[in-house]
């Protein structure tokens, strides 16, 4: 499908871009939830990031996109069949349509084979296709409940277990879940919200200069996608390099005890429920440090990611209208000043 829009050519939306980069560096962060209006470049940014990432090594012919270096056995024994052969494939980007049926998502009996040859074979669904890549769900708050439950279960376990139509199959499904939604159109269940690692708010850019720049860039991209992409090749490469370096650096980034204390105090100060928030906060701070080329997590890294990591975990107070972001910023500045 043609040249993708370059990630670095997206004007503004720094918080969203930063969150996506962090998710790409640290897959264990657990996905990004993007709240915002229509036409703010949400899907463009996610698609662009998937296009930016370097191709991954895949066992040829594997329907689950197994990595050659992965030691866990593939259900179809792809490595035994392929031997030493390795191919490269682009990082998958799967767009989950709102009306998708459960069969399409989890996979089902391969009807064609079953009817034509009587063979019982599993036809992988979108979860298998998204393995090791991105699963993007636009308007996730409109998705049917039973599908949401299922997606959460898979996203957390990294494994898709199919028990239906006489099939009993489990296959790896590790993906970065990226959801988007408009809070005006309905709330999202807190159980679901909590599973997302980061949450960002995107607004339509109100700055006229930014808006003009966006229209100009899109127009140029329309007319000459290749030339436009070439203009951004250098910055794309730079971003790619920083992701690659950050991935290498990440395991070595040190989180000091004082930072653990800061994280715990911050979470209790804003009333974020559960350990998940604290863990995500520190993982995000680590990814942030890795992206900026540091070997040690500093207080400002924690401060930079606190809103993204915590804003969707605060206990809801029906009678309090103060935005979560405001509460977090206040707590951060109080704690850092102390």
């Amino acid at each position: 499908m043609g040249t993708p829009f370059p990630f670095t050519a997206i004007v503004g939306q720094h918080e969203m871009k930063q969150a996506l980069l962090m998710a790409a560096v640290e897959p264990r962060l657990g996905g990004v939830m993007v709240f915002g209006d229509r036409g703010t470049g949400k899907s463009t940014a996610v698609r662009a990031l998937a296009g930016l990432l370097p191709p991954m090594k895949v066992v040829p012919g594997c329907r689950y996109g197994c990595a050659p270096a992965d030691t866990s056995p593939c259900i179809e024994g792809c490595r035994e069949r392929a031997g030493k052969a390795v191919i490269e494939a682009p990082v998958p980007f799967v767009d989950l349509p709102l009306g998708a049926t459960e069969d399409r998502v989890v996979g089902s009996l391969d009807l064609e084979r079953a009817l034509a040859t009587g063979e019982k074979r599993f036809e992988p669904g979108l979860l298998a296709k998204a393995n090791r890549g991105f699963l993007y769900i636009d308007e996730i708050n409109l998705l049917e409940d039973h599908l949401v439950d299922l997606l959460l279960d898979v996203a957390v376990s990294g494994q898709n277990v199919v028990e239906r139509e006489g099939l009993s199959i489990r296959h790896p499904a590790r993906f970065i879940l990226i959801g988007s939604g408009n809070p005006e159109e309905g709330e999202l269940r807190p159980q679901l919200l909590d599973r997302f690692g980061l949450s960002v708010d995107v607004r339509t850019p109100s700055d006229l200069g930014e808006r003009i720049e966006i229209v100009k860039r899109c127009d140029r991209f329309d007319r000459d996608p290749v030339g436009f992409a070439a203009d951004f090749a250098a910055s794309e490469k730079e971003t790619l390099d920083s992701i690659a370096k950050a991935r290498v650096r990440l395991p070595k980034v040190h989180v000091g005890d004082d930072m653990l204390v800061l994280g715990a105090r911050l979470c209790s100060a804003v009333g974020a429920d559960g350990l998940r928030g604290e863990l995500t906060l520190l993982r995000a701070a680590r990814a942030q440090a890795a992206l900026s080329g540091k070997k040690e997590v500093k207080a400002h890294h924690v401060a930079e990611v606190a809103t993204m990591a915590l804003r969707h975990r605060l206990r809801r107070n029906v009678l309090d209208d103060t935005g979560s972001a405001g509460r977090i910023t206040r707590a951060v500045s109080e704690l850092l000043a102390a």
Binding site: G39, T101, L111, E112, D138, R211, I212, D219
Partner: protein, 589 residues
């Protein structure tokens, strides 16, 4: 109903007759579509079936074959898949091509687009991003109806061209002859070349209050397509005008601020603070260009705005006439996924039937059904199972029905403030829990002479808070009006496939309402019996200090559960609603 289409030439803002202009615009939209293809998504056309729409469709059919897509099409059919009947008949897999693939090179036309199922709308929106064939949506809803179904906002946002064929009148002679009137160019001359069209479009969009950034991007594509249709490389003034009228004008949510020089009347409304003044030069325009400009060329932004104003949406004009500000980009709450028992939900057994239209084949059951007959059916040459269409079994699903709680709150009299506050509290409490059950809440308030829909059915807590904020109390008790409106809302919800429940919160007797020779209490009894006849579950919460028999009678007439709550508080109301909901759920399904 058809009146809106038939005879109201002066409907749009009292403008005398812009029929010719509109028609010319509609025809230039076709030229743009021909030149731009799928890159502009397509068009949203407000038009009822009729001669004007037929003439436009005929003109459209000259540029590409049309393919109708009924609004109730199965979302699966868009992508195609296994053709089961053919596969069984031929004993080999027969793949049916999806509509999207089959329509390549033609134009997809969706009549009654406001009835498009949310899943289908979402799939079409995704398809546009992937480069689908151009899509034409015919919005046939009545623009004057506040509660009408609306075209999916995310889909509409992706369609560059928005057209209103309502005001167009065609000459009877041409219609009888069966040919559309000759096209008329919007601007006879293409005008001077335009520099920096993107800035002009972005500034124009901002001044019209269009939030989506997609609009100016699509407008730029439309301008280029219009130039290409004319065989030009360079953008000229006419292209900007077409982009303004086709793309930006119909999306406007406010009037642009008037230019500073010839200010003759005050602006209709204050632009918001972030808005730069009209003649502020855009930041990245090279300075000093404006002074040396040759006089004939007009500022392209003004050109865009002037053109846009010929195509403002009727909603905006009406809102301006009423002095109200139109809310932008708000979609109606009806976009929730509908629950259909054959297609979605948790599995719940199988039954005989043909797969397709969303129903899924239950393969194992089908084979089990076919197995015993194999001996007596003629053996197939290839030794495979012989399956007939009677053997086919489809899966059933049970979907949890979603509820809508309609509160009808008596906002009359002295105790109104306390009661209203607790009712609002109950609405918010229910919504705060609602995400678990996907429940929606609506609220009708009745006081003085009439009832108002204070909160249309919604799931959004944010919206409920905003809309219930300024609800007033006091005055008489028009009980009948309140019950009638609550019934109307509940019945509309039931038509949407949801399970409504009505909760009436009052402390007294009706003292307003009823016709000649009918006292208010009798009128209320009639309304209560009408509600009872619908079979919609209801709760009657009597919150007077000393319950009176009138309340009991009303509750009986509407078949409601009667709850006496002398001291209302939000939590008690929620508890009563839940108890009633449980009872209704147990007996009902």
């Amino acid at each position: 109903m058809t009146n809106a289409q038939g005879g109201a030439p002066a409907e749009v803002g009292g403008e005398p007759d812009d029929s010719d202009e509109r028609w010319a615009l509609a025809l230039s939209a076709i030229e743009v579509l021909a030149a731009a293809g799928s890159s502009i998504g397509g068009a949203l056309v407000r038009a009822r079936p009729g001669p004007v729409r037929d003439a436009w469709t005929d003109a459209l059919a000259m540029i590409a074959p049309l393919r109708r897509l009924p609004s109730n099409t199965d979302a699966d059919a868009l992508d195609g898949g296994l053709d089961l009947t053919a596969t069984l008949a031929q004993g080999r897999a027969v793949i049916r091509e999806g509509i999207l693939a089959a329509a390549r090179g033609s134009i997809l036309v969706v009549p009654m687009a406001e009835r498009l199922a949310p899943a289908l709308a979402a799939r079409l929106a995704a398809a546009i991003d992937e480069g689908a064939p151009p899509i034409i949506l015919f919005d046939e809803s009545d623009a004057a109806d506040e509660d009408r179904d609306r075209v999916s906002a995310s889909l509409a946002d992706r369609l560059a061209i928005h057209l209103d064929l309502g005001p167009v009148r065609l000459g009877m002679a041409a219609l009888l002859a069966g040919e559309p009137p000759p096209p008329m160019a919007l601007m006879a001359q293409p005008g001077a070349p335009v520099r920096d069209c993107e800035t002009a479009l972005a500034v124009g969009a901002a001044q019209l209050g269009i939030a989506s950034i997609r609009a100016p991007i699509l407008a730029a594509r439309v301008a280029r397509a219009n130039a290409a249709a004319d065989g030009r490389d360079v953008l000229r003034e006419a292209d900007m005008a077409v982009a303004g009228a086709l793309v930006l004008g119909p999306r406007a949510t406010r009037m642009p601020p008037p230019p500073e020089e010839d200010e003759q009347q005050p602006p209709p409304e204050e632009p918001p603070p972030e808005e730069p003044p009209a003649n502020d030069p855009p930041p990245d325009e090279p300075p000093g260009e404006d002074e040396s400009d040759e006089p004939p060329s007009i500022d392209p932004t003004d050109l865009v705005l002037d053109a846009a104003q010929t195509a403002l949406p009727p909603d905006l004009l009406r809102a301006l006439a009423n002095g109200a500000v139109m809310r932008s980009g708000k979609s109606q709450g009806s976009s929730g996924a509908k629950q259909k028992s054959l297609t979605s939900g948790r599995p719940a057994g199988v039954r005989p039937g043909m797969p397709g239209r969303g129903a899924r084949l239950a393969l194992i059951e089908t084979i089990k059904t076919a197995a015993p007959w194999q001996k007596i059916r003629p053996t197939r040459d290839d030794g495979r199972l012989s399956i007939r269409s009677d053997d086919l079994r489809i899966r059933r699903f049970s979907a949890r029905t979603e509820t809508t709680t309609v509160f009808a709150v008596d906002a009359s009299g002295s105790a109104a403030f306390a009661r209203l506050a607790e009712a609002k509290g109950a609405v918010e409490l229910l919504l705060a829990e609602a995400y678990v059950k996907r429940a929606e809440v609506a609220m009708v308030a009745f006081r003085g002479q009439d009832a108002v829909l204070a909160l249309p059915p919604t799931r959004s807590l944010a919206r409920a808070k905003r809309e219930l904020g300024a609800l007033a109390g006091g005055g008489g008790t028009p009980m009948a009006a309140g019950i009638d409106m609550a019934r109307g809302v509940a019945e509309a919800e039931r038509r949407r496939g949801r399970t409504p429940m009505v909760v009436i919160l009052t402390d007294g007797r009706a003292n307003v309402g009823g016709g000649v020779g009918q006292n208010p209490q009798e009128a209320a009894m009639v309304a209560a019996r009408a509600l009872g006849a619908t079979g919609i579950a209801s709760v009657f919460i009597d919150c007077s200090a000393r319950p009176r028999p009138e309340g009991g009678k009303l509750a009986e007439a509407m078949n409601a559960r009667l709850v006496a709550l002398p001291r209302v508080d939000a939590k008690a109301v929620v508890a009563a609603v839940k108890a009633a909901g449980k009872a209704a759920g147990n007996s009902g399904t």
